[in-house]
Subunit: 199 residues, 2 copies
């Protein structure tokens, strides 16, 4: 790609460095910004820079936050006896969107994946064990993806919590609500039969 402008070239390269954005898409985005009012692009750039300067991990749960302790951990109306363990901040957002959970979270920052060189010490597990010792905490809910790595992570963490006086649970697996049975994969369908619940 030949650029007549160094400024355009650098902006295109900046966008093309993001995951899933190729050079052509990057150029389209840059030309869009050129056509918008100047303030919009400056606002865009400022939002990114401010976010990256200001964002931090909550020292309690590992969630992304504007402050040392995130808004969820600060919220005293939330149920302090429940801690939901998730892989990433995306999962926190997905669960918050359900509006079905009013407890606290703990963000591991990944799952145990030896093939990718991620071991237990790379994750936020020690701090979870520390939190689980607090007398208020009664249940640790594992909301981890039902994959091999996820199961390994759940198993490892449950072993770490074995000695403590807390219940460890994991979220229910089964066929999706609103999904057609015939489209459910066989493993899910098979397990949901084995793990059937009485009416």
């Amino acid at each position: 790609m030949q650029f007549s402008s160094k400024l355009i070239e650098e902006a295109v390269n900046a966008f093309a460095g993001l995951p899933g954005i190729g050079k052509k898409t990057a150029l389209r985005l840059v030309l869009h910004l050129v056509q918008q009012p100047k303030e919009d692009s400056i606002y865009f750039a400022r939002a990114i820079a401010d976010m990256r300067e200001g964002i931090q991990h909550c020292i309690t749960c590992g969630n992304l936050s504007d402050q040392h302790v995130c808004s969820i951990c600060r919220d005293e109306r939330r149920d302090q006896s429940l801690i939901c363990v998730v892989e990433s901040i995306r999962d926190v957002m997905a669960i918050e969107d359900t509006q079905q959970y009013r407890g606290l979270y703990h963000v591991l920052g990944g799952i145990i994946a030896p093939m990718e060189g991620v071991g237990p010490t790379d994750l936020n597990i020690d701090t979870l064990v520390g939190r689980a010792k607090h007398p208020d905490v009664q249940e640790i809910i594992m909301a981890i993806s039902p994959t091999i790595e996820g199961e390994t992570t759940i198993f490892y963490i449950s072993k770490m919590l074995d000695e403590l006086d807390v219940t460890v649970s994991k979220i229910a697996r089964g066929v999706s609500f609103g999904g057609e049975l015939e489209y459910a994969d066989e493993v899910t369908l098979g397990r949901s039969l084995v793990a059937r619940t009485s009416l």
Copy 2:
């Protein structure tokens, strides 16, 4: 989407304001930036802001440029007798990438599209007529998409240039090089038969 961080929310909204980027993709991009070193995100934001602050339209051809006159118009080694008329800067880049053209450009900034409220006065046509009067200029090449709007634009401009002592040409249309004939659309195939050239 529930955000525990105002900073993340604003950065996601900034990305989601770009064309073709939804909220989920925007969140993925923002979380990518969070995981990268801080300098990378600051560099990203600066590249966008610098680009938008510094970029201008070349006062001669309308191409995007870092200076008043773009690097192509400034380049005295280029053939000053040829002006290639294109719709947008993207077309300039596409033609430059072919390395088959060493003349100058003229960027219209769009094509005549009455349905979208774009008339001749919204485009860079007056300046083209002005440039065409220069004694050095011998040929105006219309490199406009072969659509209804494109043909209208070509017709309008050729009328404007009628009185002047310049050749007006348009780029060849026909079947694509390397393409299978059976996959060419009928209009292209039909016209390429009518406009056949002798060997």
